[in-house]
């Protein structure tokens, strides 16, 4: 080895002080603007057009919803102002939009049902919560019974029976979605397992059901439930007018859920099935203990997306005369005592905000879940 200290240093061992980056790449608001808004003349022209568009749209919405809106007063104040939204209208109709014609003295029952539901759903969706199996048990078994007892009423428990004719508003929308998810998940799992089964008849039955239901519009399924179900059964068994669309929504969404679950089942490596079989575990235990827990976790984002679709589809039940939230808005909107130039727009704006809030929240949850799952698979 040669002695390095004898050589004159030709390499400067001390680090040079860092120089500032050239002016046009220096991170400053100006370079950001140049790079992201005016990189080419075409891009610059687009920026100007889109800024104008965005400002115009924002101005329209804000001036209608906030700046020019009527915040207090009554019908007259609203009629006098054709420029902005009429929020007193929403304030006055708020209870109607939430409960429909549900008797005022009994509305605490709706509140209680929704509160229990909210707690259970939060428990289920929060992945780090303790004892989520218990939550699932409660949500899928106990909750439907409790909700039925509370909402409809049982005379024995001193809860007067409320006719379903009186139910309406957000209550119906939430009820439809919850019933949809509570029933569609188990039925969907069964259908998905059936579709992947080795037994030809089971497979054919499940496949036909899934493909037929997915091939037709939801409205026609509702029509079928409404017009044909009473023909299918003896008179004394005719389902309640609210029960018919509920059955329709449960069957309709279970076909979609089946496809989601099937995707999850396909994503599980074959080794898992084979290992379970090699250990002599029976088919149902293999599914219950090994395959389904993994498959369902993978497809949580898709389940949430399906649920968002289901939530939006509940608006269609108005076609068979059920007063869901949107139908309640429609009814409130045409109330002659509130007739005014901006009532319709206000109603639709409010309905849009409510639906958007629910759906956007759910889609954000599904996205965060997706990221979490992606992280889990990498490690």
């Amino acid at each position: 080895m040669t002695d390095q200290s004898l050589r004159p240093p030709i390499v400067n061992l001390a680090l040079m002080p860092a120089m500032a980056p050239p002016a046009d790449v220096r991170p400053s608001p100006l370079t950001w603007i140049k790079r992201n808004l005016f990189s080419t003349p075409f891009s610059g022209a687009l920026t100007i057009c889109f800024v104008l568009l965005a400002v115009w749209l924002l101005h329209q919405v804000l001036s209608f919803a906030i700046l020019n809106a009527v915040w207090s007063g009554g019908r007259e104040a609203c009629r006098a102002n054709p420029e902005g939204a009429c929020w007193p209208f929403i304030a006055q109709k708020f209870d109607y939009l939430r409960y429909g014609a549900y008797p005022i003295s009994e509305r605490w029952r709706v509140d209680l049902t929704q509160a229990i539901g909210a707690i259970l759903i939060a428990w289920l969706l929060w992945t780090k919560a303790p004892r989520r199996k218990l939550a699932a048990m409660l949500f899928f078994v106990f909750y439907p019974v409790a909700a039925f007892v509370l909402l409809r009423g049982v005379a024995l428990l001193h809860l007067p029976v409320i006719d379903t004719m009186l139910w309406g508003g957000l209550l119906i929308t939430l009820l439809m979605s919850i019933v949809g998810i509570v029933f569609s998940l188990p039925i969907g799992i069964l259908l998905a397992l059936g579709r992947r089964s080795d037994l030809p008849i089971v497979k054919a039955v499940c496949l036909t059901f899934i493909e037929v239901v997915r091939g037709v519009p939801f409205i026609t399924v509702l029509f079928m439930a409404n017009f044909m179900m009473p023909l299918f059964v003896p008179d004394y068994l005719t389902p309640d007018r609210l029960l018919r669309p509920l059955i329709a929504i449960a069957l309709f969404s279970s076909a979609y859920m089946a496809e989601v679950v099937r995707a999850g089942l396909q994503a599980i490596p074959k080794g898992q099935y084979e290992a379970a079989k090699a250990l002599g575990i029976s088919y149902f235990d293999m599914m219950r203990l090994i395959v389904l827990p993994q498959a369902l976790t993978i497809v949580i984002p898709s389940i949430v997306s399906t649920f968002i679709g289901l939530f939006k589809d509940t608006t269609l039940v108005a076609i068979v005369g059920i007063a869901d939230f949107l139908k309640a808005v429609e009814t409130a909107r045409v109330d002659p005592s509130w007739a005014g130039p901006t009532i319709s727009s206000t109603g639709y704006l409010f309905a849009g905000l409510v639906y958007w809030g629910f759906c956007f929240g759910m889609s954000r949850y599904s996205q965060s879940m997706e990221r979490q799952l992606a992280r889990g698979h990498k490690s």
């Binding site: 037709v216 026609t220 023909l231 076609i319």
Partner: protein, 395 residues
Amino acid sequence: MSDLTLSVQPRRSLSLHNKKVRGIFYQVLLAGSLLALALGIGIQTTSNMRARGIPLSFGFWNEAAGFDINQTLISYDTLSTYGQAFWVGVVNTLYVSLLAILLATLLGFVVGIARLSQNWIVAKVATSYVEVIRNIPLLLQLLFWYNAVLKPLPAPKSSIEIPGGIYLNNRGLIIPEIQLHPGAGLVDLAFAAAIFFCIVFCFYAKRAQRRTGRQLPVLLVSLATLIGFPLVIFLAAGEPVSFIRPQLHGFNFQGGHQLYPEFAALLIGLSVYTGSYIAEIVRGGVQAVAKGQTEAAYALGFSPGKTLRLVVVPQALRIIIPPLTSQYLNLTKNSSLAVFVGYPDLVQIFAGTVLNQTGAAVQVMAITLAVYLAISIVTSLAMNAFNRHFAIVER
């Protein structure tokens, strides 16, 4: 030492512990109970229908319908039969769906590409559009377009007049009617000839590029031929086309084509709603194309536009097309929401009016479901054929 060989005998008993027997048993059980259910429902339904005086046959098909439909593409009047009303519904459903598919695809591709734009504000506006529209029910959007945008337009008397004899009012958009005079056929011929020329020129240009590497201005030449040649013939034939301008008579317009607000609301609603889904599909497809492809194209000196058109989009299409088809099917199914705004589609005419008038719920619903199923099966078959054709052939 004792003998360690075990006597292995496959179980051949007919007990439920045998997997094969068990499978057959379950299937027989399922098939039996389904058959019993179907039989029970069948018997109950026929007896219920008899008791309520509902017709059991398809005899209503040839009876006079007796109701009018305001928007038809095929001939129909109050004397027509229920069968003809059915076909009007089918054609109307397909018509609005196809138009909406066209618009939604255009909108979706533009927005999807815009979401990936380098330009911050363009990407943000596109993202906001997708996030807002996707999270609001289609029905609410349809009602909004119909009740809050199109219906509050002024009455025919005080229509908004757009230059060119176009009128916009709460009965719709009224445009001049085109009337053809003798000699108009020549213009059609000229147009066909122009198209033929363009195709030939395209082939020629491609070959020329292969041979010499030089690119011919295909787009410019095609556009010039397509517009110029028919125009020359049009002028030479003495302008064989005239317009019938709509005239206000009493409360409504006479003459001219009318675009009804029901149709417009459905078309706008479906296109805007489905467009947001297509945008997401397009974005996903483009992002799925490996970044190296774009970089390689840039390294070869392709412009960003050409990179997108010649390198990225053809590869992205393979990923985009299957979900795109399912969106097209969704759109077609969603066109049944026409019933809420009163556009006469299949559901509104057939499962609505015809069902109410004849009471033949079972037959009408069966036919309606069959139509939608047929549409979705035909589309899936076409889709599978397409996929086979375009799937990447791997070694």
